[in-house]
C-alpha cells in the first residue's frame, strides 16, 4: 500500500507537485493519467527518490520512504520504465540477475541458490528462457521490455512502478505485456502503480485511476471516472466521447479532431448516387452515414456509405455469404455497406423524397412477396424492408428514436391500409429497417430529436402507403 500525503515536490526553480494526496491499495492496478506536464513523471521520481520531497510524506506499508535505505527501498519497490539502452553485451540472464542486487547479503555478494531459483521462476513465467544466453542487444523491442520486466520482478517487489512501459511497443506486445502484468498482479498480489498514456488501454487494465492536472489530482476512482467527458475535455483539451467496449463492460474513449472534413461535394449538393437494375438497387453516399440497422450485413450502429437491396429467387437459403458474393460482383466494399435480400422485384421499390427547411429525407420501401410455393395465397406479402436517410447532425439517441418512429409508422400504415382479409402481418422476423443520418455533410443542421421522430413518422408512413398501394393495385 502506498500512501501519499500532502506531497510537495519538483525542481529547485519550479514546484510541480503541490500538496497531492493519494492512496494506492494493496494488490491493485492503479493508473495515473494526465496530459504531458501534468506532473506524472515528477510524482514518480518523488516516489523512487530521484527527486527530493520538499514537503509531505510518502509511505509504503506504514513506513515512511525517506527512512528507508536505497537497498531496502529496492526490496519493496521495482521500477520498469521505457526501453533503456544497455551498454556492453550482457546476456539476458545476466540482466535478470541484476534484479537480485538488493537481496544479496553474504560477504561476497554472489548469487545464492535461492537467487538462482527466483531468476529461473521469473524467466519461466515471462517466457524468456529461450533467450537466456542471447545478448540483450539482439532482442526485439518487445522482448527487451519483457527482459527488463523480468529484472524488475526478480527484485520480488511488493510494488511495481511502471512509467509508460509500453511506449515503444506495438499493439501485440503492449497487450502481451499488460496481460502478463495483470496476471502477476492477480496471482502474486502485486501492487502496480503505473503511468499509461493510452486512456483506452488504461481503462481495460486499471482497477482504479487518478486523473492528474497541473500537479494535482482532479479525480480518483474506478474506471467509470473515465466516463466523465467534460472533466476529460477540461484536462486534455480534446473533444472526447465515451463509448462502451463491445465485449468488456468498460468505457472506451474516442477523440474528435478539430479539423473539418473539406472533401468536396457534388456541385448540385447531391451526394447520393443510385444504381438500379433487375437484380439490385444500390444507394451510394459520398460521406459515410451514421446508421442504425438490422440488415443481414451491416447490423448495429455504425458508419456506412453503401446501402443495397439484392434480389433472390427464394428466401429459403438466404445467407450473409450470398450478400457478400453479390457485393463483390458489384464492387461494393462490404465493410462499408448494409446489405438486404429480397424476393421482391427490384422494380417495385418505392422511393420517396421530402424536403423541409433545408432538411432532406429519403425513404425507400420494398414489399417482399411470398413466392407461390405452398398452399398460401399466391400474392401474400411476406416481408417489408425499409430504409430511411436524412440530412443533419443527429445524436445516437435521436437515431434510436427515429428507428422506433419508423417501426411505428410501418405498423400504422399496415393497420390503416391493408386490404381486408389479407394475411399481412404487422411485422415479420426477417423485416429489415435501416435509419441513417448524414452527419458530416457541410452545411447540415443540428436536428432536434422531436423533429427527427416527426419527420421519419411522416415520410415512412407516406412511403408505406405508396408501396402498399402498388401492391394492392397489382
Amino acid at each position: 500500500m502506498i500512501k501519499i500525503e500532502d506531497l510537495v515536490g519538483g525542481y529547485a526553480k519550479k514546484r510541480i507537485i503541490n500538496g497531492l494526496n493519494l492512496q494506492i491499495n494493496q494488490g491493485e492496478f492503479f493508473v495515473l493519467l494526465g496530459p504531458n506536464g501534468s506532473g506524472k513523471t515528477t510524482l514518480f521520481k518523488l516516489v523512487t527518490g530521484q527527486l527530493p520531497i520538499q514537503h509531505g510524506r510518502i509511505s509504503i506499508a506504514g513506513k515512511s520512504l525517506s527512512t528507508l535505505s536505497k537497498i531496502d527501498k529496492a526490496k519493496h519497490i521495482a521500477v520498469l520504465t521505457q526501453e533503456v539502452h544497455i551498454s556492453f553485451d550482457f546476456t539476458v540472464e545476466e540482466i535478470v540477475s541484476l534484479g537480485r542486487y538488493p537481496h544479496q547479503k553474504s560477504l561476497f555478494k554472489r548469487l545464492t541458490t535461492d537467487d538462482r531459483e527466483v531468476i529461473e521462476t521469473v524467466m519461466d513465467m515471462l517466457k524468456i528462457n529461450q533467450f537466456r544466453n542471447t545478448p540483450f542487444r539482439m532482442l526485439s523491442g518487445g522482448e527487451k521490455q519483457r527482459v527488463l520486466l523480468a529484472k524488475a520482478l526478480a527484485q520480488e517487489p511488493e510494488i511495481l512502478l511502471l512509467d509508460e512501459p509500453t511506449n515503444h511497443l506495438d499493439i501485440k506486445h503492449t497487450f502481451q505485456m499488460l496481460d502478463m502484468l495483470k496476471e502477476w498482479q492477480q496471482t502474486k498480489n502485486l501492487t502496480i502503480f503505473a503511468i499509461l498514456h493510452d486512456l483506452n488501454v488504461a481503462s481495460l487494465y486499471a482497477d482504479r485511476v487518478a486523473l492528474l492536472h497541473e500537479g494535482n489530482v482532479v479525480d480518483v476512482g474506478d474506471i467509470n471516472t473515465l466516463r466523465n467527458e467534460t472533466q476529460l475535455e477540461k484536462v486534455y483539451e480534446v473533444q472526447v466521447k465515451t463509448q462502451p467496449h463491445p465485449i468488456v463492460p468498460k468505457p472506451q474513449l474516442v477523440m474528435t479532431p478539430t479539423y473539418t472534413n473539406s472533401e468536396s461535394e457534388t456541385p448540385d449538393g447531391h451526394s447520393l448516387t443510385i444504381k438500379q437494375n433487375e437484380a439490385h438497387i444500390h444507394l451510394q453516399f459520398e460521406q459515410p452515414l451514421r446508421t442504425i440497422s438490422n440488415g443481414m450485413v451491416g447490423g448495429g450502429i455504425e458508419w456506412f456509405k453503401h446501402f443495397c437491396l439484392f434480389h433472390v429467387e427464394t428466401n429459403n437459403h438466404c445467407s450473409e455469404q450470398m450478400i457478400y458474393q453479390q457485393m463483390e460482383a458489384y464492387d461494393i466494399p462490404f465493410e462499408q455497406a448494409v446489405g438486404i435480400m429480397t424476393t421482391a422485384n427490384i422494380a417495385d421499390t418505392v422511393i420517396v423524397t421530402k424536403r423541409k427547411d433545408n432538411f432532406e429525407m429519403i425513404a425507400l420501401v420494398i414489399v417482399d412477396l411470398m413466392v407461390n410455393q405452398h398452399s398460401l395465397p399466391s400474392r401474400a406479402p411476406r416481408m417489408i424492408h425499409m430504409m430511411i436517410f436524412m440530412d443533419g447532425h443527429v445524436t445516437d439517441a435521436s437515431l434510436v428514436s427515429g428507428y422506433m418512429a419508423a417501426a411505428e409508422a410501418k405498423a400504422m400504415a399496415i393497420q390503416h391500409l391493408k386490404p381486408a382479409h389479407h394475411p399481412l402481418k404487422n411485422s415479420d422476423i426477417n423485416d429489415c429497417l435501416v435509419v441513417a443520418a448524414q452527419q458530416q455533410r457541410n452545411g447540415t443542421v443540428d436536428v432536434e430529436e422531436a423533429d427527427v421522430r416527426k419527420g421519419i413518422m411522416n415520410i415512412a408512413y407516406e412511403a408505406m402507403k405508396k408501396a402498399l398501394h402498388k401492391y394492392v393495385q397489382t
Binding site: 533503456v84 556492453f88 553485451d89 550482457f90 541484476l98 538488493p102 524488475a152 527484485q155
Partner: protein, 356 residues
C-alpha cells in the same frame, strides 16, 4: 536441463581463463627475465629469485654480477611493467564500465595527461611535500589526474546534457591537448638536460627504475585494485544506466565516487612511475570482454592479469627491437593501440545500427 550445462560450461570457461591468464603472467615474466643482451639459464633465474625472497636457493656459487643483474635490474623492471600494465588495464576497465563507454581509458579521457602534468611539475621544480617524501610524486600525480578528470567531466556537462561517448572522448582530447601544451611550456622553459630527461620520461618507460619505483606503485595499486574489485556489481548495474541502477538499489553517487577514486589512484600511480603509456587501458579490457563476456566480476581481475603480461611483453619488444638501444614502451603500445582504437570507434558506430 540445457541451461545447467551451459552454466557449467561458462563456469568452466571462466576457470580456464583464469588459469591461462595466470600462466601467461608467469610465462611472460620468465621470458622477460631471460631475454636480454646477456642470457642466463632458467634454473639460475629461479634460484636467484627464490633465494632472495624465501632463502630457498639450491645452487652454489652463482656469480655476484649475475645476481645483481637479475635481482636489481631485470626483476624490478618486469615487476614494474606488470604493475603498470595491470593498473592501467584495471583503471581502463573501470572507466569504461562507469562511463558506459567502450572507448574510455585513462589516456583517452585525459587522466593520464593530467597525472603527467603533476609528475612533470614535481620533477621540474623538485617539489617535495613534507611528510610524503618519495611519495610526493605519485600523490601529486594522482591528485592532478583526478582534477583533470573533473575538468573533463565539467566540460562534458557544459557542452551536452548526456554523457555521449564521443563527447567524453572529445573533451578528453581537448583537455589532453591543453595539458600537453602546458607540459611543453615547462619543457621549453627548462634547460637542455632536464628537457631531454622529461621528454624521454613522457614517452613512457619502465626501464632503469629499480626497486624504489616498484615500492612507489605497489601500495597505491593494491588500494585502488581492492576498491575497484569490490565494486564489480555496481559496475554491472551501471550498464543499465544510472537511473535504472538506482532503481535496483545501487547507491549510484557513492559507487561512482569510489570507482573514480580507485581508477584515479591506479592511473596516477602508474603514470608517476612510468610516464604516460597509452592505449593499454583501452585495448586489454576490450579483449577480455570479447573472450570472457561483459560481467565485471571477471573483466576486472582478468584485465589486471592480461594487462600486466601485455606490458611485460611490450617492454620486452621495446628493449630488444633495436638493441642495444631501447624504444620507449609508449611507442609500442600506441603502435598496437591506436589502430585498435580506430577499429573500436567504427565498430561502436556500426553497433548502433548506423551506416558507415
Amino acid at each position: 536441463m540445457p541451461s545447467l550445462s551451459t552454466q557449467k560450461y561458462s563456469k568452466n570457461k571462466i576457470v580456464w581463463l583464469y588459469i591461462v591468464s595466470g600462466g601467461l603472467v608467469l610465462g611472460t615474466a620468465l621470458i622477460g627475465l631471460l631475454t636480454s643482451s646477456v642470457s642466463f639459464p632458467i634454473p639460475t633465474i629461479i634460484h636467484i629469485i627464490l633465494d632472495k625472497t624465501l632463502h630457498l636457493g639450491w645452487l652454489e656459487d652463482v656469480p655476484k654480477n649475475e645476481q645483481l643483474i637479475i635481482w636489481n635490474i631485470r626483476l624490478p623492471r618486469v615487476l614494474l611493467a606488470f604493475c603498470v600494465g595491470a593498473s592501467l588495464s584495471l583503471a581502463g576497465a573501470a572507466f569504461q564500465g562507469l562511463l558506459r563507454n567502450p572507448l574510455a581509458d585513462p589516456y583517452t579521457i585525459g587522466v593520464s595527461s593530467g597525472a603527467s602534468l603533476g609528475a612533470v611539475i614535481v620533477m621540474f621544480f623538485q617539489v617535495n611535500i613534507i611528510g610524503l617524501g618519495n611519495y610526493t610524486l605519485p600523490v601529486v600525480a594522482i591528485v592532478s589526474g583526478l582534477l583533470t578528470l573533473f575538468v573533463v567531466f565539467g566540460l562534458v556537462r557544459l557542452s551536452s546534457r548526456s554523457l555521449a561517448i564521443e563527447t567524453i572522448i572529445l573533451a578528453g582530447i581537448i583537455v589532453s591537448a591543453f595539458v600537453g601544451s602546458l607540459i611543453s611550456l615547462l619543457i621549453a622553459l627548462g634547460d637542455k638536460d632536464s628537457m631531454s630527461q622529461i621528454i624521454y620520461w613522457l614517452y613512457g618507460s619502465v626501464g632503469m627504475r629499480g626497486w624504489s619505483h616498484v615500492q612507489l606503485i605497489i601500495p597505491f595499486m593494491i588500494v585502488g585494485a581492492i576498491i575497484l574489485l569490490m565494486h564489480d556489481r555496481e559496475l554491472n548495474a551501471l550498464a543499465l544506466g544510472e537511473e535504472a541502477a538506482d532503481h535496483i538499489g545501487v547507491n549510484v553517487k557513492r559507487g561512482k565516487i569510489y570507482i573514480l577514486i580507485g581508477a584515479s589512484l591506479l592511473t596516477g600511480a602508474a603514470v608517476s612511475v612510468s610516464g604516460s603509456i597509452g592505449f593499454v587501458g583501452l585495448v586489454i579490457p576490450h579483449l577480455v570482454r570479447l573472450v570472457a563476456g561483459p560481467n565485471h566480476r571477471h573483466v576486472l581481475p582478468l584485465s589486471m592479469l592480461i594487462g600486466g603480461s601485455f606490458l611485460i611483453l611490450a617492454d620486452l619488444v621495446s628493449r630488444t627491437m633495436i638493441a642495444p638501444k631501447e624504444l620507449p614502451i609508449g611507442v609500442i603500445t600506441a603502435l598496437i593501440g591506436a589502430p585498435v582504437f580506430a577499429f573500436l570507434l567504427i565498430r561502436e558506430r556500426l553497433g548502433r545500427g548506423e551506416n558507415v
